[in-house]
């Protein structure tokens, strides 16, 4: 029987790949320190598998066939893409996968009303790679990516992300494989790319403040009421990727986070969220 041993949420801002290497600029010290702290938290949970909930950026998945939610099932997961190497300096790499657990997550989701798409052949972009490589620098823990569409409108509604999180937790716990699983939701606070407010720091600090409070308080009702497409767009044109944290909230059964922060820097503020996993139900 699988066990959920940790639930985290963090950023995948690709501009952090270059800027967090080695000695970092003053404004990014807190971001780097938060990643180091979360690296220790993940290691402390002793996971056998890291399940990354991520949104591909129109690299692997596109509007010719856009999955709302997809389980990536592969023993070897290549990352990333030539454009990400060019634009962000993120190297082409190969991550270990977990075919068995991925299959159980797919099956468990389907049995619980989440009609996951499934892929046996895909590449992972920076949304999977960056948090994984920062939190698991040896890159030796198998990863199961669950991709969400929070980039190409229309998106599934906020409540659906919570439901998917609940189903993931149940599927992990129902798996006959004896895996210790950490969930890492990979998303954003208020963020803008390719719009009038890009590269000007956090595009909507009041959204960030509110969103961090929702997570800290476990205020699922407020999240479901407030996280409309219009509100998220007003906070920045790629802010919808905050929805990935609702998958983590669902996996945590809506409990308050034990750590919730929006860390400021020259970029969009970086989210760092951690939840204690709920007790295993008898």
């Amino acid at each position: 029987m699988g066990t959920l041993v940790g639930i985290f949420g963090t950023t995948h801002n690709p501009l952090l790949w270059r800027t967090l290497q080695g000695d970092v600029a003053d404004d990014l010290r807190a971001t780097k320190a938060s990643f180091m702290e979360f690296r220790d938290r993940v290691a402390g949970a002793r996971p056998d598998v890291i399940l990354v909930v991520a949104t591909d950026h129109l690299t692997q998945w596109f509007d010719d066939n856009m999955p709302a939610f997809l389980v990536g099932r592969s023993e070897l997961i290549p990352a990333t893409f030539p454009n990400e190497e060019r634009e962000f300096g993120i190297p082409v790499d190969m991550l270990p996968g977990d075919l068995g657990l991925a299959r159980d997550i797919l099956t468990g989701g389907l049995e619980r009303g989440v009609d996951f798409s499934s892929s046996r052949e895909f590449r992972a972009d920076h949304s999977v790679y960056l948090p994984y490589a920062f939190l698991c620098p040896d890159k030796d823990i198998p990863v199961v990516p669950v991709f969400t569409n929070a980039i190409a409108p229309p998106f599934p509604p906020a409540r659906r992300f919570v439901e998917v999180g609940r189903a993931l937790r149940a599927a992990i716990e129902a798996s006959p494989l004896d895996r210790r699983v950490v969930i890492v939701a990979s998303g954003h606070l208020a963020t803008e790319v390719g719009g009038p407010r890009q590269f000007q720091g956090a595009p909507d600090p009041s959204f960030d403040e509110q969103a961090v409070r929702w997570v800290a308080d476990g205020d699922v009702e407020a999240m479901l009421a407030e996280l409309t497409p219009a509100r998220m767009l007003a906070a920045g044109n790629v802010t919808a990727q905050f929805l990935n944290f609702l998958v983590a909230v669902g996996a945590a059964e809506g409990r308050p986070a034990v750590h919730a922060a929006g860390v400021r820097s020259r970029f969009a503020s970086s989210p760092f969220f951690a939840w204690d996993p709920p007790e295993v139900r008898p």
């Binding site: 129109l58 596109f62 409108p153 229309p154 790319v193 390719g194 890009q198 590269f199 044109n237």
Partner: protein, 113 residues
């Protein structure tokens, strides 16, 4: 409105280094070849169908990121594409300024396809 075809074009150029090189070397020829490839009349077995409208074709031939933004091109894809096709012809810092000036008047066009 063929936002989808515009996004498909930008994605091709952004992700395929050979396409990027060919497009920057001769935008008009590259756009024409792309259109022939996705034209459902010329490629009747294709499901890649879709045609660019005149203003979309012009925007792509001229690498006009402001016009692409205004017509509802996906902003994430658009920035990545724009950086790929303009830098190093102009510096990234200058492009960031020009891009902001070009897109700001249009606010937030609907980029759902």
């Amino acid at each position: 409105m063929s936002q989808y075809v515009v996004n498909k074009f930008m994605r091709l150029v952004n992700m395929d280094p050979a396409a990027l090189e060919a497009y920057v070397a001769d935008p008009a020829s590259f756009v024409a070849a792309f259109e022939a490839d996705v034209d459902p009349d010329r490629q009747p077995w294709s499901v890649r169908g879709g045609r660019l409208e005149d203003h979309e074709r012009r925007a792509l031939v001229e690498r006009d990121y402001g016009a692409l933004y205004a017509l509802g091109a996906h902003p994430y894809l658009l920035w990545s594409f724009t950086e790929a096709v303009w830098v190093p012809e102009i510096t990234r810092a200058e492009l960031v300024q020009r891009f902001r000036a070009a897109v700001t008047p249009f606010g937030y066009p609907d980029f759902g396809t």
